[in-house]
Amino acid sequence: MSEILSEVKVRTPKDYEGYKKPTWCPGCGDFSILSSLKKVAAEIGLDPVKTVVVSGIGCSGKSYAFFYANGVHTLHGRVLPVATGIKLGNPELFVIGLSGDGDALAIGGNHFIHTARRNVNIKLIIMNNQIYGLTKGQFSPTSNHGFVTVSSPYGSVEFPVDPVILALASGASFVARAFSGEPNSLTEIIKEAFLHKGFSVIDVLSPCVTYNKVNTYDWFRENIEFLPNGHDKENLTEAFTYATSFKGKIPIGIFYKKERPTYEELILDSSNPCREDLYCGRERVYELIETFSK
């Protein structure tokens, strides 16, 4: 963490205000995610110059403009490959991925699995509202079976994917779920994810007040349940047990957290490609030419 705790002048959440004011619908769950993000940034003294926020397409995608840091607004579903490239390009950068449920799990589903198994040190926050908001209300991969939307007028025949179970199964080294309507625990979880070294996934249940009239704040309050305090976070089996069945409710909290070498550490042997002299490969090319001219 030392590299991101540099001598920054910013220390309060207000100092992390972005280029623009958020343009989300009033009451959107994403506001709470953004303010938690700023709080955590201020608490840990995140250096905006060394931070890159990578977002995708959809309401979540706009977040890159609402936070003071380098912002890379990528294509639909491509948050994780771009973030991986950035992290490998300069492993000293702190990389935060902000995705929606469609972004992370539908079009970006393959990248999600592979980034998790690689354990790239990226913090991925899934702003999960179980609907496609920006395209005006189609079902998403986390929408419930039978959910009626403009593109599922007879009720969705598909069953939802659970981001927590998928993350655990894919090998993510930090897996949590939070709820926008519980800002305190949301902030705590984000902070712990940020301090974790490795691919960290937080599935944040973030109600869409315009298009999702089923999974509302009230609905979530009745349907969520916090994981017990004594839960052994390093125990993957326990994490799966909680993730798959928990008192018939949606479990909230940190399911799993266990550090292992990151992808960039293994690939780069702790070097930083950004610091390398670009001419340094020349001598080696002479050697290669020699091997081909034997």
């Binding site: 280029y19 623009k20 905006p48 110059v49 060394k50 931070t51 890159v52 990578v54 706009k62 890159y64 403009a65 003071y68 840091a69 380098n70 912002g71 890379v72 607004h73 990528t74 294509l75 491509r78 994780l80 490959p81 771009v82 973030a83 991986t84 490239g85 950035i86 992290k87 490998l88 390009g89 300069n90 000293e92 950068l93 393959n110 990248h111 699995i113 592979h114 690939i267 780069l268 042997d269 070097s271 930083n272 490609p273 950004c274 610091r275 390398e276 670009l278 001419y279 340094c280 490969g281 020349r282 001598e283 080696r284 090319v285 002479y286 290669l288 030419i289 081909f292 001219s293 034997k294």
Partner: protein, 586 residues
């Protein structure tokens, strides 16, 4: 003494044609010949017909010749397949395993047929049928008069990884082959090769030259998904990149690979992807994103036969128009088409300079023929020290450029269309980037005036780019009334065609396009205006290069244009071109 020899080794995949070809290529290089290989192998691991052609010449050659001097056939069907490439005086050495007479339809007048019990010798005397291919190598070595010391060295180099036992067995097999020739003297035609001193030329496949060029050019990131015929780039750089602090990644898919490279480039690295048609098809959303975000990116694109999966292991130039127009929306791009080993090397290195200086995607467009075949080049013709690294308007201190609302103007409008390039983590300041239309700070806006100025900013790079890109190469013959235009790998056979026509008093000039896009309209127009007839040689059905030429010239010149196309998946032979030109001149 022969100064040009072409050998084809044919059988089914698994027969060892490939290794025989590789060994022969090394042998020819070692006796001072320029070498070119043509691999013709199926998209399959074992069991389907495959062949490997090796040509050696005392002059630089970049393509196969019209006919084979030797055919080594490990099975009878191979004779049939390759009969049309044998001529009077050619030698067909085949495995006589069933002892049957060759049927008449396999016999061509003037061809020497030499049945040899290759398999039988390998099995009975060497204990391993598989090694018949090295017996064949011995046969050729003896016929060509290559010293045993040289063959021993080549075998050692090719097989030392497999251990001493394998080396010894191979040497023994070669010796068996030599003995066969000595014992059966008289059955073989005289075919001694001239011996030159080996000046230590480089013998490598196109993908190797590209990989070396990338390293010399400061590429420090490659993300790729295995695909024929570009996989060797991933394999080469996976081994090498780590040695100077970079990374070569095998991504989960083509889409991921281009987005990873874009990420690495945003972070400040010189980044590249390597793929072919089906992969580039998936990469186009990323290409378009790189265009909008003005992210420097090098795309290595080795064309193969399409559409769709097509013929994955065969060569084509079917994607010229596709890659010029690939990606939605309008944005500048540079497409370079190397034709020789030195161009593969230098243009790849230079691609990174263009990508960074102009903040655009740069495409190195080759094809299976160039990518996967081997070529020789004099060592001094590729010199890593001659590679410059120019990073363009890379900003290292945020205080050097203006801000808006605290955010640096990454997309500041400049006269030449090129904005200051900011990477994250520089001293002082942050920036934004997005695939949406954006303002100077890199944040989305739908403002009409902003849209107009941003489009103009990006597109204005083209007029500056045009002045800097490699011009076409002109091979001029005095008073030539006939011209050839081509791009890329058709270079070798065209040069030989010109020579042959010249001998009959037909002068032909040749304009070789190096920068496919922006298309060199002025040079092409001038070339066409000077000629009475123009032949456009390309490896596709539609005449895609012809389309570009016709688009560039004035209508009245269009009746001069003739297309010479080949789309069988196999590279041109000089004769393919020569015959068409002669026919047209009748």
């Amino acid at each position: 003494m022969k100064e040009d020899v072409q050998v084809r080794i044919a059988g089914i995949a698994g027969d060892g044609s490939f290794i025989t070809g590789e060994v022969l290529a090394s042998l020819l290089k070692k006796i001072g010949y320029y070498v070119v290989t043509v691999k013709d192998f199926p998209s399959n691991i074992r069991g389907l017909p495959s062949n490997y052609t090796v040509r050696g010449s005392s002059k630089p050659v970049y393509g196969r010749n019209n006919y084979d001097d030797f055919l080594i056939a490990f099975d009878i069907p191979s004779i049939k397949t390759h009969l049309r490439d044998l001529k009077e005086g050619s030698v067909c050495i085949y495995d006589s395993r069933d002892g049957k007479e060759l049927s008449d339809d396999l016999k061509k007048e003037g061809v020497f047929y030499v049945p040899l019990p290759l398999r039988e010798i390998a099995r009975k005397e060497l204990g391993l049928e598989l090694i018949k291919n090295m017996v064949a190598s011995g046969v050729l070595s003896e016929i060509f008069g290559v010293d045993e010391e040289i063959t021993d060295r080549v075998i050692l180099e090719n097989f030392k990884r497999k251990g001493e036992k394998v080396v010894e067995l191979n040497k023994k097999a070669v010796l068996k082959g030599r003995e066969l020739v000595r014992e059966n003297h008289g059955r073989f035609p005289e075919f001694k090769l001239r011996k030159y001193n080996d000046p230590g030329r480089v013998l490598a496949m196109g993908n190797d030259f590209v990989s070396m060029g990338a390293i010399a050019g400061g590429c420090r990131f490659l993300a790729a998904y295995p695909i024929t015929p570009s996989s060797e780039i991933l394999e080469f750089l996976s081994k090498e990149m780590k040695k100077f602090g970079g990374a070569a990644i095998q991504a989960e898919d083509e889409i991921s690979s281009i987005n990873m490279a874009i990420g690495a480039s945003i972070a400040g690295l010189r980044a590249m992807v390597a793929s072919s048609g089906p992969g580039v098809a998936l990469k186009t959303e990323g290409l378009s994103y790189a265009g909008m975000t003005e992210t420097p990116l090098v795309i290595y694109y080795a064309m193969r036969v399409g559409p769709s999966t097509g013929l994955p292991t065969k060569t084509s130039q079917e994607d010229l128009l596709y890659i010029i127009f690939a990606g939605h929306g309008e944005f500048p791009r540079l497409i370079l088409m190397p034709a020789t080993p030195d161009e593969l090397f230098y243009l790849t290195a230079e691609a990174f300079n263009f990508a960074e200086e102009f903040q655009i995607p740069v495409i190195i467009l080759t094809d299976q023929f160039l990518a996967q075949n081997k070529f020789t080049i004099d060592k001094e013709k590729i010199d890593p020290k001659k590679v410059e690294i120019r990073r363009g308007k890379l900003v290292l201190n945020g205080n050097d450029i203006p801000r808006n609302n605290g955010f640096l103007l990454r997309y500041k409008i400049e006269e030449d269309g090129i904005s200051p390039r900011i990477i994250p983590g520089i001293k002082e300041g942050v920036f934004g980037t997005t695939g949406y239309e954006h303002d100077e700070a890199g944040y989305g806006t739908e403002d009409e005036d902003n849209r107009v100025s941003m489009v103009k900013k990006r597109m204005s790079k083209i007029k500056h780019l045009i002045k800097r890109v490699p011009p076409p190469v002109l091979y001029e013959k005095k008073n030539a009334k006939i011209g050839i235009i081509s791009a890329g790998s058709t270079f070798g056979p065209i040069m030989e065609t010109m020579e042959r026509l010249e001998k009959d008093g037909i002068s032909v000039s040749f304009l070789r396009i190096v920068t496919l896009w922006p298309f060199p309209e002025d040079e092409v127009r001038k070339f066409v205006e000077d000629k009475e007839k123009i032949f456009i040689v390309e490896q596709n059905y539609k005449g895609q290069l012809r389309f570009l030429v016709e688009n560039a010239i004035i209508d009245i010149h269009k009746n001069k244009i003739r297309g010479i196309t080949k789309f069988s998946g196999r590279p041109f032979k000089p004769l393919d071109i020569e015959e068409k030109i002669r026919e047209e001149l009748k």
